[in-house]
């Protein structure tokens, strides 16, 4: 069957498919590639109208900031090696060493340990080793590509991006854990119930998913600002002002995310054959016991995938966090808005670009790690509709 297809495929069509895909890949990757390039150049190179000057950065180079051929080769090979490890080796290690039923935690710990060791090797050990190598290797050690990390140090140390980063970690961790805990239970319940009520809950969830986030924020904002007074009758003097508290935005983001989460988890649970829990029920388990002992060990692929999308929502959010947190204490994405809006000099612009790249880098590795899960998540929602 496939052969007929292949034989019938005219060569012109195949070639144009390849050409179109090459074109598409350039369009897809170019803006991201470009901001990465300009983030390591001095402003005068970064916004040069000649693209070659932007890439090679003669001004940056003349300030003595650059990379030699050796730097580039070794750096690239480490990055490619890391990429290879993440796609194959890491997954095998996690599967081998995580205790039964805790694959999710295994992934989190594995990914964090891996990321940390990469950061230590790449940013801690590499530079000193390389500068030594450059000194002893003569012409090969001369700088050929302008490269300066000063904007990154401005962002992370002077502009205190570390604090925003911590807030982002806090918010995303909270959102992922809570929305998965609630969502898994509800998704399982909805998948195993064919009642009319389940259908209506799903439809209402769908309508909730369509709500513009600003509508919800309008509902929260007055309450968050005045919460100390409103909650005083219940909590007494210790009633908190919710406005400006990262953990309070967690609740909002979880709620926004919940409709999507239960839809997706429901479709994953529907793929787990119901004979499995029925067998456990016959052996005398209650529904909850069946869920815990039979379903939990096999549900992790779906849960990890849904967790990824919850992570993306929380990490990428701008509207909720910028509205409900104070400008000095936001997560990373709203913080960058204040940077590029104040871009008075070109240096400020490049600093904003460096901040943007800093936000994108974790996402890049996320796709590298979890490509298969993301694709399966996108299609899972679709196939079951």
């Amino acid at each position: 069957m496939k052969d007929i297809n292949l034989i019938r495929q005219p060569i012109g069509l195949r070639l144009s498919s390849y050409f179109f895909l090459i074109f598409w890949c350039i369009v897809a990757a170019f803006p991201i590639f470009w901001i990465t390039v300009i983030s390591v150049k001095l402003p005068i190179d970064a916004f040069n109208s000649n693209p070659l000057n932007v890439i090679f950065g003669p001004e940056t180079l003349s300030k003595g900031k650059g990379l030699s051929l050796i730097d580039i080769t070794i750096g690239l090979s480490i990055i490619i090696f890391t990429a290879k490890l993440t796609t194959g080796w890491l997954g095998r290690m996690v599967n081998k060493y995580s205790p039964n039923g805790y694959l999710g935690f295994g992934w989190i710990i594995g990914a964090m340990a891996f990321g940390l060791s990469f950061i230590i090797i790449f940013f801690g050990i590499m530079p000193s080793v390389l500068s030594l190598l450059n000194d002893i290797s003569g012409p090969l050690g001369n700088n050929i590509l302008g490269f300066s990390t000063e904007h990154y140090s401005t962002v992370w140390f002077e502009k205190n991006f570390i604090k925003n980063f911590q807030n982002s970690i806090m918010v995303t961790t909270g959102v992922v854990t809570i929305s998965l805990t609630f969502g898994t239970l509800a998704g399982y319940g909805l998948a195993r119930s064919g009642s009319n009520l389940a259908f209506w809950i799903l439809i209402i969830a769908l309508i909730f998913r369509a709500l513009p986030h600003s509508v919800l924020v309008t509902g929260y904002l007055p309450f968050f600002i005045n919460s100390a007074e409103i909650l005083r009758p219940i909590f007494g003097e210790s009633a908190p002002t919710l406005y400006g508290m990262p953990w309070a935005t967690v609740a909002v983001l979880v709620a926004i995310n919940q409709p999507f989460t239960i839809w997706m988890l429901r479709s994953f649970f529907q793929k787990i054959p119901s004979e499995l829990d029925e067998a456990a029920r016959v052996d005398g388990c209650s529904h909850f016991q069946a869920f815990r002992r039979v379903i939990m060990p096999v549900m992790w692929p779906g849960v990890i995938t849904t967790g990824l999308f919850s992570f993306l929502l929380a990490y990428n959010d701008f509207l909720v966090t910028s509205m409900l947190l104070e400008a000095q204490n936001t997560t990373m994405v709203p913080a960058i808005a204040s940077m590029f809006n104040m871009e008075t000099t070109t240096t400020d612009q490049v600093v904003a670009v460096a901040a943007a790249v800093s936000i994108v880098v974790p996402l890049f590795f996320l796709v590298l790690f979890f490509q298969r899960q993301i694709v399966s998540g996108l299609t899972a929602g679709a196939v079951k509709g």
């Binding site: 195949r14 319940g189 986030h213 509508v215």
Partner: protein
């Protein structure tokens, strides 16, 4: 599964949605009929300035917000009926614009300006996303297996990137003498400023959105293409169907549920266009409905937020999305009914 266990499973999640989604919606509806304002008092203030000969004193009557015991401005909330909605819709100006037969005047009113952009943005990007998604999916399906993985990896990048950053990365290609603006200037031999007028900004926003969403459509369609019934394709070929007829009568009908799915998701997401306005800093030229609400909510220099007007514009935004989704949801409902019968 009996009712009780069912409720035990879905309880926490439903409770959460009631408290954090349904309840805020009810509050927004209520707020949209109320206005909260500082209580003003009229005071006679005497200000004296020293002079060579003595003091010159001026008495004037000032209206200032009343300060309460705790040092905060006292506010009062009063029921105003539909005034908030009137303030958002600005009907007198609309009528005047229509009387003058001037589209320009009509479109310069904030709410209608936002509505016009949001709707045209949603409806123009929808076919583009479906088309490019389908083309990319067909192309991926057409090439050797070994390069499909890398192509999907690259395609996922624009989809997964933070929307604000994605918009910014497009903006930095064009801003000032950015590389693409220079390229266009060299190519068309004229000066170009991409951020000086509304339509170029809108063009960039739409480009960004298609760039951001087409990969999602492509991956969903690509998954659908894997399940096309090969027997049907084969018999179509035997019956002498051309390549185009095969696509039109076998593959597209098979993908139809997925096309509806992508349409639904895209309508929801494109209607709440917001990050583009932030990323392109386009508020002077182009605004969207979500941005309008956001703007009302942001505190002005005095620290006041127009919650009432924000609520009214929220409610109007919500009515809009419900109207937009009714045709699609009706389809889902009929489908469900059909399955049950």
């Amino acid at each position: 599964m009996n009712q009780k266990t069912f409720f035990a499973f879905i309880g926490p999640s439903v409770l959460m949605m009631v408290i954090f989604i349904a309840l805020p919606l009810a509050t927004v509806l209520k707020q949209s009929f109320y206005v909260t304002q500082p209580v003003y008092q009229t005071l006679e203030v005497e200000t004296c300035t020293p002079n060579f000969t003595g003091q010159v004193c001026v008495k004037e009557i000032k209206t200032i917000p009343t300060i309460g015991d705790n040092g905060k401005v006292i506010t009062q909330t009063s029921f105003v009926g539909l005034v908030n909605y009137q303030n958002v819709l600005e009907l007198p100006r609309v009528i005047k614009a229509f009387a003058n037969n001037s589209w320009q005047q009509f479109i310069s009113i904030d709410f209608w300006k936002a509505l016009r952009f949001t709707l045209s943005f949603t409806l123009i990007t929808l076919p583009l996303v479906l088309f490019f998604g389908l083309v990319i999916a067909l192309c991926i399906n057409n090439v050797a297996k070994s390069i499909r993985g890398p192509v999907i990896f690259v395609s996922l990048l624009p989809m997964i990137i933070t929307p604000v950053i994605g918009a910014l990365s497009i903006r930095w290609l064009f801003i000032g003498d950015g590389i693409l603006t220079s390229f266009l200037e060299w190519w068309l031999v004229r000066d170009i400023s991409m951020f000086a007028q509304a339509w170029t900004i809108e063009l960039m926003m739409m480009f960004y959105r298609v760039w951001h969403v087409a990969p999602f459509a492509a991956i969903v369609f690509y998954a659908g293409l894997q399940t096309v019934n090969q027997d049907t394709v084969e018999s179509a070929i035997i019956d002498g169907a051309s390549r185009w007829q095969k696509l039109r009568y076998v593959i597209l009908p098979h993908l139809m549920p997925l096309i509806v799915f992508v349409t639904l998701i895209h309508l929801m997401d494109a209607y709440r266009v917001f990050e583009e306005v932030v990323g392109f800093s386009s508020q002077a030229h182009v605004i969207s409905l979500q941005w309008l609400t956001y703007d009302f909510l942001t505190s002005d220099l005095m620290g006041n937020r127009s919650i009432g007007r924000a609520s009214a514009s929220s409610m109007l935004t919500m009515i809009g999305i419900v109207l937009l989704l009714i045709p699609v949801l009706r389809g889902v409902w009929i489908d469900y009914k059909g399955k049950r019968l």
